[in-house]
Every structure is written in C-alpha cells, then in structure tokens.
Point group: C2
Chain length 281, copies 2
C-alpha cells in the first residue's frame, strides 16, 4: 500500500518505521528539509518531501501534525489525493477535528494512538512504539465502512489495542486520563517552586526521586501540546478539573482533621481502583 | 563489620544484599519466620531471627520497620546492643523519629534512602537499589561525629547520593516532592472514578496509558505508608497541599478564561523547572 505521513515527529516517524517493516511504501512530508533527511536516514520513510503534492498517489495518509494544523492539512490534501484515498489523524482531541476534517474529506477516520514519550521529534521515533498500547478510532455514523476497515487493519498491524468510540466519548474519557493529569502534574511542579524558604526549596530539588519523577513527568512535557489539549477539549477538561479539586479538598480535609482511618480507607480505594485501569501495575 | 537489619522488606532486604556484597556480616530480624527464611534464601542476610537479641553483637543496626515501629524498636534495642553500637533508620519522616530515638540511644543517626518501588516486600529486594539515588542523613547537633561517620561510610558504599540536613528541613522538603505527590496522585485516581457516565468511565479505564500510569503510580501505592507520611509530617504536608491548591486554581482559571498564552507560559515554566530537579529527565 502507498502510505503518506504528514508530520515526521515521534508519532509520524514511529508509524513510518512500523508500516515500512510491514512492507508498505511510505512517503513522508515535513515542513523542514532537515527533518525529511533525518526521516529517510533513520528508515522511517522511503522518501520525504516538504510538499504535500508528493502524496498524490497515496492510498492512506496519516496526519501527524500538531492539533491546530490537522484540519487545514486535510483541506489541502483534499485537492491532491485521489477520491478513494483514506485520511486518518493522530490528534489527542477528536470532536472538533473529526467534524472539520470529515466535512472536507468524507473518507476521514479520526484516530488517537495513546503512546506518548517525554521526548519529542523524529530522533526519538521507535519501532513498535504502539505495540500493546491503546489506539482509539472515532468514526462518525456517516464514515464509510470501507475507510474504517482500512485504518482498522493498519492499526492492528501495529499490534496496538484497538478501541472505537464516538469523538465526544473519546474526548470526555481522555480529559480524565490524559489531559487532567497534565494539569495536575504541572500544578505540582509549580507548587514546589513556590516554597519561600530557599534551603527547603534547594533540598526538595535535590531529594526528588522516582515518586516525584513519575508524578511530574507529563506536567513537564511539551507546553504547546498541553495548551492544544486544553483549548480543544476545554469543557471536558474543566469538568475533570472540578471533580479533581473536590477530591483534593476531601483528601486535605482528612489530613486536617487527622482522620487517619478515613485517609487509609481512601488510599486503599485508590490502591484497588488503580488496578482497574488498563494494563497498569 | 557486624550489621543488623530490623525489618526485611524492600529496603531492608536490598540493604542486606548490598552490604553483604561489600563483605559485611548481616543478621536480619523480622517478626515473621517465613520472611526470615526468604531473606536467607535470597542471600539478603547471612542469618535471620524473629528475636532482636540476635543483634547483640551488631556494630550497626538499620531499623527498616514501618514508621510507627521505629522508635519502639530503638527502645528495645537499647537494652540489647553494646554501648558503642550505632543505630540508623530508613523512615521517610524524620523529626519525631529522630527526637524519640536519640533520647534512648545517643548513637542514633536518622536516615532516609529515597528509593521506592511500587511493589513492597523482601521478594522485590534488589542489589544496587540505592545506586545514584538520594540518601539523606539527618544528624542532630549533639549526634556523635563518630556515629555519623560510620553511617556516612556505609551509605557511600551503596553508591547512593549522600545528603545531610536537619530533620526539620528534611521533612519540609520531602513534603513537597514525596508526600504531596502521593495525595495529588491519589486524588487523580479518585477523581477519575467519580465520572457519572458509565460509558465515559469505562473508556477512560481502557484508554489509560503511560501518562496516567506515571501520574497515578504513587497514589496507588501502599495505603499504610501514605497514612504514616501524613500523620508524621502533617503540618508540612498541609502547607504543601495549600500551595498546591493555589497552583491548581491558577491553572483552572487560565483554562476557564481561555487565556492560552498564559497557560503556555505556565507550562513552559514547568517544562523548564522540572529539569532543575535532581536527576530528572
């Protein structure tokens, strides 16, 4: 199959590595010539170009640009691709994108591979990045079944765990487990920096170990991506932030009231609840 | 050197593995005979007993029990050890423990290796667990220099990063980077479980990936340990929780007001700030 990838970062590059290893011919497009060269050198694409017209003969195109560029890219591609071509994306919010993209390209299937890393860019692309990770497709009622089947097959070839739901359900679910954690984690980093005693602040920087590293990871990630998540999923994120603040206040009240049995009950609940989340240990 | 270890869990067991590999003779004490057998079988101790009197000839004793048992254990040991013996502990809070322990054993040196894992117990003990991790000693002004030197040498033999500060500074610092993250992370898990739409809740459980896994890890940890941290470091933890809530409210306000440049500025700050914490990437 001829596959196009627009945007050669961590996700686009990793998709290219996997799809090429499955025997597909992959053409990459990046705004930057240097990224194109790196992608070819790393074997993430067979060829690369700064020009979207290089994808004219693609059967499927993965749009892996930043969120704000997805719908405009689909609009541009609609004048380039053959009518049967399928477009999919990898954006971490879906409702707005799927609505806009479907309007200019009916064979559009929204997608979201849940496979982040703390680093970004083509240099950290890796083979089998998606293996065993959730990969959500968000077709609409009117999305052609043939288009869905094509994307579904490709996702399964990545050995990802395939899920399908509506864009709205997707956005509300990821608000809890992906977008809320970014804000929770960023607030933690900010809070630690507010300590007014310089000795305590310095020691806390030095003592930070695995617990802090893990809890602060997503809050120290790509700022642009964090803003996009908030911007494109604002109401679901605000709902999650509100629910979160209630829980934080409950935990704080238990500590204030020295209600240790209550705190132990709560921490036992979270200990058990965490095991219900997919694949966590 | 004859070294005693009271409490053969992850930390006690891992200490034993390292200290034995440095040529020390290690005697372990656990309340449970089965744990004693496992510790001997794993090579974490040379011999093990359920009775503290087995440590009568120890030069140094590491108390690796749960926090609440540290001071009582030191009191019991004070009738067993020779006068020159040094006692140290590995508790994650220090002020109360160091005060109580020093009172019954002047040669007491508070310690805190920052080397947690999500699992607990002797079965997950590992060699070189402390390598490259912070290990804080919290001597008092009156702690004998000879006792400090003995513990310092042993900690350095673990290839840990040695720090020294007062118990009070330690407790205020770890409130930010160790105890606050537990409450922040537990609140995240609880909040996700409050979603009232069962479809959204189910999907969020399924979509949870590396971001949620990392941010929720310490909140899904040992409930008993979480309660002890809060109980023994209550005022510093409440100070940190208050500071955290302020930051969370600021982030929420930025999203509410659609102040995207403001949110990007904040997330850029946290992106940069995180690199200032010890050894994080």
């Amino acid at each position: 199959m001829n596959i196009g990838i627009v945007g050669l970062g961590l996700i686009g590059g990793s998709l290219g590595l996997d799809l090429r290893s499955s025997g597909h011919h992959v053409v990459g497009v990046s705004r930057q010539g240097k990224t194109c060269d790196t992608a070819v050198a790393l074997g993430a694409v067979d060829q690369a170009s700064c020009d979207l017209t290089a994808l004219a003969s693609a059967d499927v195109v993965f749009v892996c640009t930043p969120i704000a560029a997805i719908a405009p890219t689909v609009a541009t591609l609609s004048a380039i691709l053959s009518q049967d071509a399928v477009i999919t994306d990898v954006g971490s919010v879906k409702s707005e994108i799927v609505a806009a993209a479907t309007q200019c390209w009916p064979n559009f299937v929204g997608g979201h591979p849940m496979a982040g890393k703390s680093e970004a860019g083509i240099d950290v692309a890796e083979i089998q990045l998606f293996k065993g990770r959730p990969y959500v497709l968000t077709p609409l009622a009117q999305t052609p079944l043939t288009a869905i089947a094509v994307v579904r097959d490709l996702v399964q070839s990545l050995h990802a765990n395939l899920y399908e739901c509506s864009p709205e359900i997707h956005d509300r679910a990821v608000a809890w487990i992906s977008h809320l954690p970014v804000m929770v984690s960023a607030s933690l980093i900010q809070a630690c920096m507010t300590e007014s005693d310089p000795v305590v602040r310095t020691q806390s920087l030095q003592f930070a170990s695995s617990g802090f590293r893990d809890t602060s990871r997503v809050g120290g990630g790509n700022p642009e991506l964090g803003v996009m998540m908030a911007q494109y999923n604002r109401s679901a994120l605000l709902h999650a932030l509100k629910g979160y603040r209630n829980q934080l206040d409950q935990v704080t009240a238990l500590v204030e009231q020295e209600n240790w049995p209550g705190l132990e009950h709560l921490l036992s609940q979270t200990h058990t609840a965490r095991t219900q989340f997919n694949g966590l240990s």
